[in-house]
């Protein structure tokens, strides 16, 4: 890759209709949201909302419209609103996705759009689940660099190839979309789950790290990687496009090939 780029032209002819298509029209959506508030009732219910939405609106915009205009009690987490903070993973039309990254126009708006909390974690209120078990699994895989050598004065060297080896798993935003899409996790909450394994993978395959064996030992546990049934739900659910199932397979392979 050359560092220097050719200087671009001062002026160019812009192609017609440049910068995306024209206006995307307004459309109506029927939002069906799973509601639960133990302060009011132990029963979960479905609430229906009919909304008029606009071209670039996402599911999060529809939820905000309900909360801000119709029903302030509707509760969900969100922060960055563009798919990097991981707050708003939810089950949209039966698939785990980030509400802020799912454009309404990409869904079938001729039918109701269902929105539910992610599965396998205790529901606290509406779309909010208890994330503590999820973060507990994350913390258990030693998700930090361990280096036993002398600390250099400058940076540790790492080749671009070695850096690339674990690039995919550095993208994880801990949104839990993968773990809560996993059928094994739904039935066995003790299973570490895909996200924890992804974060172990990120360090196991980092050439600077010295604790790979310890992490492999942790994941060789009966609640570790061997519970994975390779259903690929996790890879499909990941809003960051991480090849989660492949990462789990690489960890399995590493456990099998290492000398104990």
């Amino acid at each position: 890759m050359s560092a220097e780029l050719a200087e671009p032209a001062s002026k160019i002819e812009l192609p017609a209709g440049v910068g995306g298509g024209g206006e995307i029209p307004t459309f109506d959506v029927h939002l069906r949201v799973r509601r639960y508030n133990p302060e009011v009732s132990e029963e979960a219910t479905w609430d229906d909302f009919h909304l008029t939405m606009y071209g670039t609106d996402r599911v999060l915009d529809a939820l905000h419209k309900v909360k801000w205009e119709t029903d302030g009690t509707l509760s969900f987490r969100r922060s960055c609103a563009h798919g990097v903070c991981g707050s708003d993973a939810m089950r949209i039309n039966g698939r785990n996705r980030l509400a802020c990254k799912t454009l309404l126009k990409d869904l079938d708006t001729s039918k109701p759009i269902t929105v539910e909390p992610i599965k396998g974690l205790p529901v606290e209120k509406d779309l909010i689940v208890d994330m503590e078990p999820f973060f507990q699994s994350f913390r258990e895989v030693m998700p930090f660099l361990v280096n036993k050598g002398h600390e250099p004065t400058r940076e540790r060297l790492q080749s671009a190839e070695d850096r690339e080896r674990f690039d995919d798993t550095t993208k994880c935003i801990l949104c839990a979309a993968c773990t809560s899409s996993c059928p094994v996790f739904w039935t066995d909450g003790q299973y570490f789950g895909p996200a924890a394994i992804v974060n172990a993978h990120r360090f196991i395959f980092d050439s600077r790290d010295d604790a790979g064996d310890m992490r492999l030992e942790i994941l060789n546990d009966k609640e570790g990687v061997w519970r994975c049934r390779t259903t690929f739900n996790c890879s499909e659910a990941c809003p960051r496009g991480i090849q989660v199932t492949q990462a789990i397979a690489e960890v399995k392979q590493a456990i099998l090939s290492r000398k104990i």
Partner: protein, 599 residues
Amino acid sequence: MQVHKYDVVIVGAGGAGMRAAIESGQRARTAVLTKLYPTRSHTGAAQGGMCAALANVEEDNWEWHTFDTVKGGDYLVDQDAAEVMAKEAIDAVLDLEKMGLPFNRTPEGRIDQRRFGGHTRDHGKAPVRRACYAADRTGHMILQTLYQNCVKHNVEFYNEYYVLDLLTVEEDAVREDGTPYKQKRVAGVVSYDLASGELHVFQAKSVVFASGGAGKVFKTTSNAHTLTGDGMGIAFRRGIPLEDMEFFQFHPTGLAGLGILLSEAARGEGAILRNSEGERFMERYAPTIKDLAPRDIVARSMANEVREGRGCGPNKDYVLLDLTHLEPAHIDAKLPDITEFARTYLGVEPYTEPVPVFPTAHYAMGGIPTNITTEVLQDNDTVVPGLYAAGEVACVSVHGSNRLGTNSLLDINVFGKRAGIAAAEYAKTADFVELPENPLAYTTELLDIARNGTGDEKVAVIRKELQDTMDANMQVFRTAETLNQVLRDIASFEERYRRINVQDKGKRFNLDLLEAVELGFLLELAKVMTVAALYREESRGGHFREDFPDRNDEKFMKHSMAYKDDHAPADGSAESIAGIRLATKPVVFTRYEPMVRKY
């Protein structure tokens, strides 16, 4: 009343808060309170890089970095602070690498570096490769790495605990010259547990504010929904001044209509801006470094192109970021996330189509005033013992009137670390300050007013109108007329705010209630920003007054300091506007004399 006792309480778990926690947690009993989960903080949205004069790919040194920071801030930077930041930048990057941050690498295996706006070789001669990066998710990697190291060091977090009040006491004291004054001391904070709706008192010897910015005062913003300026608002209400609040950065390249950030790294990697004529218009505004001029200049140039009728699209209201001359493989390697944003949210393919962009409210240069040790100031010189601030919530001031790209990720690491060490060291010898009588009184009343309101006003409606007027009148171009319009609008919003009606009356995860409280902070801060902008009758960095288009060093080479003062008259006189009193603070000069700022 639930009372927790810690040596150090850190408010906020973004980059500054967690960098502080890693230091403090190893020295003193530390708790971190965050209104989110740590990895949700907006540090994770930062993209392009973190500058440090490592000189890994070309000649560079920290003095050039200091100069660029001072000039970038249009000389309103405190030069002692900029020097600290540029010097300590090198260790800040190396610290992160040793903690595990996966920086992109050079062919030799060193940390790679790339160009960024306003960062130059030898005092402005040409762009320099100074930004260390991890693709275009450098902030994400910093946030993850710091959280990973907090896990490693068993840092104690209270997640989804909103801090709503700062507990202070005032003591009679006498200055060296014999004048009496009220010395503030910090006793702790009051926090609202989102899950249960219960209030908790955290008594602490040291409190570190690291709660981030207030971008949600604007409509078009790169900021998260949760960036409502809580920390600044709390401090201000408790008599701490806010410094340089008129300076807000508008990042040039937000996705048009959405405000989602497209990193300056795109231009660092060679992307350019074009108007509807296909012209590379930055050649006219900054002939030497063109598209890599600092953000205030690029944002203003873009807005000017649109104003003069050379905008693109059906409403001619944006310009284009052109990456089409770059190799797709290069884009994929260096800018994968932001090109994905263009595809996801606008349906534009950056390989072949230019991307519609327009300035987006991005960063508060101002904030809680601190010295270079991150100790909070209650006036120009007086430190509040035990109170610290770092990151966007603070004003140290390394950014002056315009922050250079990458210098915020640097700021949070350098001053976050300093805050963590200083807070813990202070706590080692200090005693707890006795809690004020009935420490929950203020917060209880604040919540009751919001919860029990029976009026007909909706929080979301007032917030939207606030954001609309701020976008229309307090953005890239300002005049006395537009600023006075904002103040009139805010006065009516404040009146309506007393009649809000929060629908959710429950205790559990009542975000409806918290949004009402957050709106209170937004209103307060928007007013401070606008009053300070009205007072500053000059143009400097991110603050551009069309009625005063030149920089005026004689009158305004000084920081503004806004104090909450309920006795300030409502007569609209220059230094006080209903409830706010403005003062000034000298700028610290060390090496550099102010010069005309050209690029």
